[in-house]
Symmetry: C2
Subunit: 189 residues, 2 copies
């Protein structure tokens, strides 16, 4: 039994894993087609160009991040636990066969992305930074989220960098160690 959108969904699942492992440039419609069990021309029926698929993948990734962060904020956990859970989301990609944040790897390939894909990658970054700024502001009575944005950007950059460097070491423990160091000097407070 197959229902409407199943093939499109299978393409996105395979595409997401491929991009998180090898990046946008290395993504192959022919390999994707083989995995899904169709011909490469059929992939183009669902996603006219590689850029369209990339935009769809990044868009969904940003949506999922938004939902995850909203839930995390509503979880009632303390600040330290919340920040640990935030870092844990990036840890998950590394634990999944040394993959990266989909938008992190696409940021490295930024110049090769068509504008619609860039827009979604930018949105993922914005979702992260704005959530971090609000989370930081929640425990600082006098300060606004707006004023804390520079600090939020720094945290986001530091976490993405930790993932990148840990990936190069093929060692999730390196990510944990870096995040622990960030915590110990108060970057995540």
């Amino acid at each position: 039994m197959s229902s409407a959108g199943d093939t499109r969904e299978a393409i996105m699942q395979a595409g997401r894993l491929a991009v998180q492992a090898h990046g946008y440039n290395a993504l192959s419609f022919r390999e994707l087609a083989k995995e899904v069990g169709i011909k490469s021309a059929s992939v183009h029926y669902h996603f006219p160009t590689k850029g369209d698929l990339a935009a769809a993948l990044a868009g969904r990734y940003a949506d999922e991040a938004e939902a995850f962060l909203a839930e995390l904020s509503a979880s009632g956990q303390g600040h330290d636990e919340v920040m640990r859970a935030y870092a844990g989301a990036f840890r998950l990609a590394l634990a999944n066969e040394n993959r990266m944040c989909l938008c992190g790897i696409m940021t490295a390939e930024y110049d090769d992305l068509p504008p619609p894909a860039r827009t979604e990658v930018d949105r993922f970054a914005r979702v992260n930074v704005e959530w971090l700024a609000r989370t930081l502001a929640a425990r600082r009575p006098g300060e606004t989220a707006r004023a804390l944005e520079p600090r939020a950007v720094a945290i986001f950059a530091a976490i993405e960098g930790a993932q990148l460097i840990a990936r190069g070491r093929k060692d999730v423990a390196a990510f944990d160690q870096i995040v622990t160091t960030y915590q110990s000097i108060g970057l995540l407070d």
Copy 2:
């Protein structure tokens, strides 16, 4: 007049700029050949495979980093100036048409690199971390460089992340702001 190694050198110059802008996967021997004024088959004479060129580029990049850092240590500047100059080296890539650290972008493509290229990318990371650990140890009488390596790794990751995120924003000022935030919380001390 052309001397021995001129063509090989021209390939490396063009290749370096291309990788820093678009990454290893997007590098094209045919485009490189056009820029240099030879045929793509001739590029293979100098670098048998794309992986060989990537390894040569990363190897030279690591060598240059090593030389730059040795000079910086010998410059007699204070710690804050030295760390500003360190960040300034990463800033330079961004200022050069929004490019990235050659090894940073290749770390994102780690899974697609042949082993010899990975070795050089790893060496670049090691050169940075060891220099940072020694630099941190120089102003901490009781502590060894070895013991400060976790902190050195965290600094390296944070700087690479700052470059990645600033690149996504196409804004060198974002890099400066992130580094300033790192400084203000004492990450670079």
